[in-house]
């Protein structure tokens, strides 16, 4: 079969997607960059300004702290779930996987609303605690860091489960049998086989949820307090409330650069593994 196909056929099959790529996907990014450097005047003043601003620095740190903590916790929880799924017979695994996929495909807005109800000052958990201890308990669990983290972890866990599960299922079952016949105890097998061989999935999952969490918007906006704003919220703040488009664009470009610097190794690494 001729792999280098005719230009005409390629044009027919690829042109809709190419048009979308050229006229919808690329321009916004270019536009943001263009706006951030003050158009053709090309000045980096805004960048210097933004980087010097206290609000930006604070938000940058918050972004990394929230993303880092939530990704780490999600990874641990996701690993627990993936391990459990991998040890189940295929039928039951499919059902349990459904329980993981359903939250994955449920809107974050829905989950934020539910957490407001669950974690609010008069929410379900506080009510239960009040009832249990016969006192009026109002633990602050939303509009602060805890609420943000809970919300973030809740949507990240399903995302990290899938790649880990894939690499756990790819482990040859005979390797486990061999290890236990050779005298290894479960703990040793867990570290030397399970954990070691699932590292590719762990790394892929971790990087991808980290990149996604850097751009999170809804969870900090709805479940966080003023101190939990992340870079996306800052972009939103400058563009919709202050109406300072250039500044919003500048922060966007910085956020983009950060995201790419974490996503690129992932992409390269995936490609190198495929070959």
């Amino acid at each position: 079969m001729n792999m280098t196909s005719s230009i005409r056929a390629t044009a027919i099959f690829m042109s809709p997607a190419a048009l979308i790529a050229i006229f919808i996907v690329m321009p916004p990014l270019l536009y943001v960059v263009y706006t951030s450097v003050n158009g053709l005047a090309f000045s980096l003043d805004l960048y210097a300004d933004v980087v010097a601003s206290k609000l930006f620095r604070q938000t940058l740190i918050t972004t990394f702290v929230i993303s880092g903590i939530s990704c780490f916790v999600s990874l641990v929880l996701g690993f627990v779930v993936a391990l459990h799924l991998a040890s189940q017979p295929a039928r039951r695994r499919a059902i349990l996987l459904g329980l993981v996929l359903l939250p994955l495909w449920t809107s974050i807005l829905v989950k934020c609303f539910a957490f407001m109800v669950l974690l609010g000052r008069e929410g379900v958990i506080n009510s239960i605690l009040s009832w249990a201890f016969d006192a009026h308990i109002q633990l602050p669990m939303i509009l602060n860091r805890i609420g943000t983290l809970i919300g973030m972890i809740n949507w990240q866990v399903p995302l990290v489960v899938l790649p880990i599960l894939a690499s756990l299922l790819a482990i040859d079952e005979a390797v486990y049998r061999a290890a236990s016949i050779m005298g290894a105890k479960p703990a040793r097998i867990f570290w030397t086989v399970t954990v070691r061989l699932s590292l590719p999935g762990v790394l892929a999952g971790l990087l991808s949820i980290f990149v996604m969490s850097l751009g999170s918007f809804m969870v900090p906006a709805l479940l966080g307090g003023p101190k939990d704003l992340m870079l996306s919220n800052l972009v939103d703040y400058y563009s919709r409330q202050v109406l300072d488009w250039p500044r919003a664009s500048t922060i966007s470009v910085i956020l983009f650069a950060i995201s790419v610097s974490f996503a690129a190794p992932l992409a390269l690494w995936r490609r190198s593994r495929r070959i």
Partner: protein
């Protein structure tokens, strides 16, 4: 945690045990003195149950998957130092049997004794058995050295002992110098040598191999057969070997356990199975055979179709009962019409319907006058002197080469 007393007992018993077999007495004792603790059971024997006669004894073990009997209740005793091969067609229960001994899963009924000790419900890691897998089952992320060191690390050997033992094991399988390679940088044969090295390195009481050469090509397979046989001789360990290749089984084994449909069809030496197959299944599975059915006539004769009578070994069965006998093709001669026939020989006229020249031997198919279809195997002659299709010939075979089969 494991109940500690048992482990202590295990260790103690292991120390004062004088085992006739094993990876050379010196290596075994060195292995023991190097153990820092008794956390992982090496070979454990229990003197309290008298001197055990067998390395492995299976008492009526069976394995059912739902209603499917992967293994019917089976008795099997493996002698010390023996090379026992489990042979049989696919799905006959060979791997199931091996897996029960290894402890991959427990039997549905029955019990398993290792050196007289009941290990039926013991987790695999405490059994002290070694196993080599068809697809190697090496740790893909570890080097050859780490792979071979794995069982020793699990037993908490110290560094220098590990280095010495791994080196010795790699020497034995001819892999010195490849310590730092990863399994995927090795050929299939080399990977299987790693599998063998990591199995012999901890001197297990029993070494089991499940179609270890199944993934290798023919030449390499023959070479490795020789090496495994030599290894068995050197170590003196009990080997249980699984294959579905009859030549491999005949070549390597002290005894063969031929399995069919989850049960033992026949257990015996290669000679037994080849020259005295008990059933039609055994006769047809091992080597080639001419099966002749008829009825007992008494007086060392049987009646077959076409009212022909054949001389057969003396038969205790009553006259008129059904009889099935077998003659190996290489025992069937094609003789010229002039040739005289000695007493005790059966003779049939027939026509050659086909020949197959397969190198050293030629197989000749003959349609006999009484409707019987016989195959004869002979040393190859040149084309001009080989029988050809259409030739009228006489076939003859001796009654002493005729084997009576059960039912």
């Amino acid at each position: 945690m494991m109940p500690l007393p048992r482990e202590e007992r295990t260790q103690q018993v292991a120390r004062d045990d004088s085992r006739p077999n094993g990876l050379g007495e010196d290596v075994v004792s060195a292995a023991r003195s190097n153990r820092r603790d008794g956390s992982a059971g090496l070979v454990a024997k229990n003197r309290s149950e008298n001197d055990p006669k067998y390395a492995i004894e299976l008492k009526d073990i069976s394995k059912y998957f739902g209603s499917l009997a992967a293994l019917h209740p089976t008795k099997l005793a493996v002698n010390r130092g023996e090379f026992l091969t489990l042979l049989g067609p696919s799905g006959s229960g060979k791997s199931t049997l091996l897996n029960l001994i290894a402890g991959g899963s427990g039997p549905s009924t029955g019990s398993i004794f290792l050196d007289g000790r009941d290990i039926t419900r013991m987790p695999p890691r405490e059994r002290g058995i070694g196993m080599v897998f068809q697809n190697y089952a090496l740790m893909p992320h570890m080097t050859v050295f780490e792979n071979v060191a794995y069982p020793l690390r699990a037993r908490h050997f110290d560094r220098s002992a590990i280095r010495a033992k791994v080196t010795e094991a790699l020497d034995r399988v001819g892999l010195r110098g490849l310590e730092d390679r990863k399994p995927r940088q090795l050929s299939g044969g080399q990977q299987q040598r790693v599998g063998i090295a990591r199995c012999i390195v901890y001197a297990p009481a029993i070494i089991m191999m499940d179609e270890p050469l199944g993934a290798l090509d023919k030449n390499l397979r023959e070479q490795m057969q020789g090496e495994i046989k030599r290894l068995h001789k050197d170590l003196g360990t009990t080997f249980i070997y699984v294959t579905h290749d009859q030549e491999e089984a005949l070549n390597m084994s002290d005894r063969i356990c031929l399995m069919s449909l989850g049960a033992i069809a026949q257990l015996g030496t290669p000679d037994d199975l080849y020259f005295r197959p008990r059933s039609r299944f055994v006769a047809e599975f091992i080597g080639e055979s001419n099966i002749i059915t008829g009825r007992v006539e008494g007086n060392g004769r049987m009646l077959v179709s076409g009212n022909e009578t054949f001389l057969v070994p003396h038969e205790k069965r009553s006259t008129g009962s059904e009889l099935t006998v077998m003659v190996r093709p290489e025992r069937v001669r094609i003789c010229g019409s002039a040739e005289s026939v000695t007493t005790g020989e059966n003779v049939l006229d027939g026509e050659v319907v086909g020949t197959a020249f397969v190198g050293g031997t030629t197989r000749v198919a003959i349609q006999c006058a009484n409707g019987l279809h016989m195959t004869a195997k002979m040393m190859s002659d040149r084309l001009a002197t080989r029988p050809a299709a259409g030739d009228q010939v006489r076939v003859c075979w001796s009654s002493i080469d005729t084997v009576t089969l059960d039912s």
